[in-house]
Subunit: 429 residues, 2 copies
């Protein structure tokens, strides 16, 4: 048997402790599968005294993650602290510079600094792997980078933030408002310390940026993502969508178009009978389409100690087995800069708006759409109390986002809107 692979783990939250647990409880299995013992040399976290349920006294303790990353008895640095800059990035760079492999779950760091870090790791001949950064327990990085290596990837799509999906499905099943469910989710600890990362779609967009890079051979381009969170989705939208056979999901889509790379992370309507439409709660789903494989759908838990640690250990085992491949599937220096193309492909849209109760209001909305070249497929006006605005729903035929924006701007100039319209793309999968 080869030399053991010695880990240094920085960050001992739920995921970090999940990794410690697997390394201890599955030692025999890991050794049988990788041909090496996998051991832990040292750990690091903010608080040394916190009771984490497992004794860590067998492992050296480092207060400074950078010191941990450089230790002679560490072959592989496991970064589970999070944060796009600061200690996570410092320690990752220190580990690579010291000739260590790195496994991380840090999507923010990869989305912002992935190119630099990949170039550093590849120049040093060391692995930088991040299965746990996208879609929790689903081994989507491996499937995309290796399992579909023979494919020209045509589209990547999915629900990648369990918290948002929890909020949207809970609003629907309990009939609660966004604000109520947000407060509930926050109380249950389902949201990031900065909840905007979740509900603003940023966390999901980090993940999409990583998948895009691998899928299309482009440099990670977080800034090129058309990004919209779920904060404006109301229970009325969810009910209206359901009424027409749709669910609302925070959906990520990346695809190459004639004009460049389209990356979107935004709430969309999807058919309620589609696999994405049926996804409940914190579960994630990724759809991968390739020119040979057609379509693969992966579903699994998007977070949690066990599933995320499972993804970390997949990377650890690959490194133990000696697998070596470029960080984003092809050498970082060969990745092309992405040319962002925002929603150039036409789609049907859902529009919800409140109209003031004046004769001719609806006609003005219809005129604004018509003049922008947007044609109406379905329209519903709901009954309303005297004091309220009339709720109007419109489903358009296929149109571009640009045309829709022209129409919405024209509507806003007519003075008949009681509030700004909600416009959501409809994705037929």
């Amino acid at each position: 048997m080869s030399q053991p692979l010695r880990l240094g783990i920085a960050g001992l939250g739920t995921v970090g402790m999940g990794v410690v647990r697997i390394v201890r409880q599955q030692a025999a299995l890991l050794s049988a599968r990788t041909g090496r013992d996998i051991t832990i040399s040292a750990v690091s976290a903010r608080s040394r005294d916190k009771d984490r349920g497992i004794s860590l006294s067998d492992y050296a303790w480092e207060t400074d993650p950078v010191a941990l990353a450089k230790r002679d008895d560490v072959d592989l640095f496991v970064e589970l602290m999070g944060g796009e800059d600061g200690p996570a990035k410092d320690a990752t760079e220190a580990a690579i510079a010291a000739g260590k492999h790195v496994v991380t779950a840090n999507k923010a760091m990869l989305a912002m600094h992935g190119q630099t870090l990949a170039e550093q790791a590849e120049a040093a001949g060391r692995a930088l792997r991040f299965e746990a950064a996208v879609a929790g327990g689903i081994p989507v990085i491996k499937v995309l980078t290796e399992g579909l290596a023979g494919n020209g990837i045509t589209r990547v799509m999915g629900v990648m933030n369990g918290s948002c999906n929890y909020i949207l499905t809970r609003m629907e099943t309990a009939g609660l408002s966004y604000q109520d469910v947000f407060a509930e989710a926050d109380g249950l600890g389902y949201l990031e310390a900065d909840p905007q990362l979740d509900v603003g779609g940023i966390d999901a967009a980090h993940k999409l940026a990583i998948l895009s890079s691998i899928a299309f051979g482009t440099r990670v381009d977080f800034a090129g993502i058309e990004l919209e969170g779920i904060e404006r989705i109301s229970i009325e939208d969810i009910r209206a969508a359901a009424d027409m056979g749709f669910k609302i999901k925070l959906l990520g889509v990346a695809q190459k178009t004639g004009r460049g790379l389209e990356q979107r992370m935004q709430p969309c309507l999807v058919p309620d009978t589609s696999p994405l439409g049926q996804l409940q709660g914190g579960t994630n789903m990724i759809v991968l389409e390739g020119d040979a494989v057609e379509q693969i759908v992966l579903r699994g838990p998007g977070a949690g100690a066990g599933p995320t640690a499972s993804a970390v250990m997949a990377d650890v085992c690959d490194i133990a087995r000696g697998f070596s491949l470029p960080v984003f599937g092809q050498p970082a220096t060969t990745l092309e800069a992405a040319t962002p193309a925002l929603s150039v492909l036409p789609a049907p849209y859902y529009l919800r708006m409140g109209l003031v109760d004046k004769p001719g209001a609806l006609a003005k909305v219809a005129k604004a759409l018509g003049e922008a070249g947007v044609s109406i497929e379905r329209m519903r006006q709901y009954g309303h109390a005297d004091a309220e605005a009339a709720q109007v729903l419109i489903v358009t035929h296929k149109t571009t986002r640009a045309s829709l924006n022209v129409a919405v701007e024209a509507m806003e100039g007519t003075g008949v809107l009681a509030q700004a319209p909600v416009a959501l793309r409809i994705e037929h999968l």
Copy 2:
């Protein structure tokens, strides 16, 4: 860049030509991703003159696949001929003996000779890989062997034969009999040359045996599978199941029980709202459960030139990248012999039977069940014309297959059955 990886391909049917097409059309992509050129040196098939739509004149032609496997200009032998013995096995063994890597889509060969071939390949230090052997384009072997390497696998389950799923869903949607849909599928070329491989569940069981070995660290044990085909499923069963909220699927399940390894491939009832229940046509679905990851579901095309070639190319790319791991995920010599345990875990069952029209007939059936300790959860008797047997459906509470068999045997002794009962397990997923 490293030396090119030179393929020799035996078998130029749809999958073989799919591989040729990818190697030619994606040359630049494959090279960027693997760091090596992937080329074809030589090919072999039964008929040299057949028009396959692509000129093969750049490649040497071998009539004998064994000669192809041993060629000096072949580094990797791609076996796409099929058949559990004969030329496929001879050529695979010859390739390994000559120091070549092997990639195959041959589930029958692996299910019957996997242990021997794995020992040969590992002794020779060569890869023997078979992503395409299970679930077409879904990279399930990679997900199980690598993506979930940190998990103790607890259960593997799925729909692994697209032809059977096509027949069952077509019966349901078109309201046709098994015989009619079988004839239709056969006419469309959806079935193996020996259709019993499909409808008898053998092909699916080959796949299950391979997955079990990787999941549980046991030697491939095809003989240990409790196997039942779909030939006895009637349109009445499909309708009755639908009436109670179920679909009928040819479902494979493998799990470790206290008594040993349970492997089943048999038609089961699954809830019609479950992901497996909603699987239509030729699509495959594999559910993998592990102690850390909880549950991962993979869905994709189970057959076809593109998807299967995609899986073959995943293996080819891994070998080009220099990845090396044991054939079944841990060294073949460390795999334990499986102890088969047949359906020891209790489950509810669906029973359909025709009763002769005699007073007390139903009472006799109920008595036989009661005496075997099988309790009835639901029972329906359908109206019938005078000359026909009365159709009776029973859903039992959880019971063992052994108790159910005792009950069925007792019923058969009473003389009230017009035909042998159909008994199907109900899987709540």
